[in-house]
């Protein structure tokens, strides 16, 4: 029988699931181990050891032990490093932060370390505490997450003829092809929606833009709608399902604009 190894790492709480009467199975995105799942015994009833520590998108310091990489971790201790109070006090920010961690969870296989995904959460969650939610912040997070997870869409040039994006002509995004086609290569049908070079350029800009400059970017309604349709459509295609938290975000916006 192999001995249990104990580890200490920083991790974002992605999700917690009630297990039995008082235990929780918590999913974290950690710096050193990527996505891990662990059981916190007695967490539901805990008033000292695990009080308020397993709330979604909180940054925590966890101590856990496990027999091997594939086994469920046993959470020995968990301390809050940042519970992002400013996000929790704002509905739009809470929904956006939920979407960010939902995406991070979906695009992360268990036990695979990915410094890019961790750094992204470490950048964008504090950004949400300082700035209001905006379309560019959400879209740029999606772009960067897709890149970090290895699913970056090809937007700089036509997937087929490799001609770089130029102003003026419309483009067509095909999720199955993983990128854009110019009008000549796309041979669009009537139902294919074109996207402007402006939308494509804005998304390319946001891929590597300095975080502090992001607040200076604004998107017109049509640009925002085009960018949303490209990225959300692509994410649904890659995952093979809709992202629940995005559905709720849109539902809330419809329900009380």
């Amino acid at each position: 029988m192999s001995a249990r190894e104990t580890h200490k790492t920083a991790g974002f709480v992605l999700r917690s699931l009630q297990y039995g009467e008082s235990d929780l199975i918590v999913t974290f995105y950690t710096r050193e181990f990527g996505k891990i799942k662990g059981i916190a015994k007695g967490a539901k009833r805990s008033r000292k050891r695990f009080a308020n520590v397993f709330e979604p998108f909180s940054l925590t310091q966890i101590i856990f032990s496990r027999r091997n990489r594939d086994s469920l971790a046993f959470i020995d201790a968990c301390d809050i490093l940042d519970h992002f109070a400013a996000i929790r006090m704002d509905l739009e920010k809470t929904l956006t932060a939920s979407y960010f961690i939902d995406l991070a969870e979906h695009f992360s296989p268990e036990g695979k370390r990915n410094d890019g995904v961790f750094a992204l959460l470490l950048d964008f969650l504090p950004l949400l505490t300082r700035e209001n939610v905006s379309e560019p912040i959400i879209r740029f997070f999606e772009m960067r997450l897709l890149k970090a997870a290895g699913f970056e869409p090809e937007l700089a040039a036509c997937v087929r003829c490799k001609t770089p994006v130029a102003n003026g002509s419309p483009y067509y995004f095909f999720p199955k092809e993983g990128g854009i086609f110019c009008t000549a290569c796309a041979r669009p049908q009537r139902y294919d929606q074109s996207i402007s070079a402006g939308a494509v350029r804005t998304l390319l800009l946001g891929k590597d833009m300095d975080l502090e400059k992001m607040k200076m970017i604004s998107m017109t309604e049509s640009l925002a709608s085009e960018s949303r349709s490209i990225l959300c459509g692509f994410i649904s295609y890659v995952l093979g399902r809709e992202v629940q938290s995005l559905k709720v975000l849109e539902q809330v916006r419809r329900y009380c604009p």
């Binding site: 008033r47 000292k48 929790r88 509905l91 929904l95 938290s245 709720v248 809330v252 329900y255 009380c256």
Partner: protein
């Protein structure tokens, strides 16, 4: 389980579906039921069937009740101008146990949970809107749980009724009575400082 007769196996399997009951506890309960008198077992079975047959949601506050209108909504002595909004019936029961609230309730039957796909359309908010539009309500007390889901639900309700002519309040958060500050977590301490009151 193998050694048990078929009807006992079935009983154990059914009991094990209950929350917090594992197979061993279910087997212990099944053995207790086997030893109990036929009258006691009949009473238990009848109460199970009765609770499912007779209990429905109150037409007004959506709390489970035997009548069309629950005993709280039907009591004219309760303050008809204040609604306390809770996530689940057990939260209502906890507030009622305290005996300090004399207004009405509204049970949402859930809380906003984006990661689980639970949005406003999955909560009983339409009924709350209707009650408020009737014009009698002066105050809405948001008593959803003090966690991310409960907070988001409270913010959603605040946003929904920000233009209505009613006072919207949130239950206080802070250190528990009889507690010891050194054992209270950081977030609760920060909330208790935020919601401190004058003496």
């Amino acid at each position: 389980m193998k050694s048990y007769a078929q009807p006992i196996k079935r009983l154990i399997a059914e009991l094990a579906k209950l929350p917090g009951i594992g197979e061993k506890t279910a087997a212990r309960l099944a053995n207790y039921i086997l030893r109990a008198t036929p009258e006691d077992v009949e009473k238990l079975a009848e109460s199970l069937v009765e609770v499912k047959r007779k209990i429905r949601l109150c037409r007004i506050c959506l709390n489970p009740t035997e009548e069309e209108v629950c005993h709280i909504c039907g009591n004219p002595a309760r303050d008809q101008h204040v609604i306390c909004v809770v996530e689940e019936p057990d939260a209502l029961a906890a507030i009622e146990e305290s005996g300090v609230f004399h207004g009405l309730y509204h049970v949402l039957h859930g809380a906003l949970a984006p990661l689980d796909g639970i949005g406003p359309e999955n909560l009983r908010l339409g009924e709350l809107s209707r009650r408020i539009s009737e014009g009698r309500i002066q105050e809405l007390i948001l008593a959803t749980n003090p966690n991310v889901h409960g907070e988001a639900t409270a913010l959603l309700i605040t946003r929904m009724f920000k233009d209505a002519d009613i006072r919207i309040t949130r239950i206080a958060m802070g250190v528990p009575m009889g507690g010891d500050l050194k054992y209270v977590d950081k977030m609760t301490i920060s909330k208790s400082m935020e919601f401190r009151r004058g003496m």
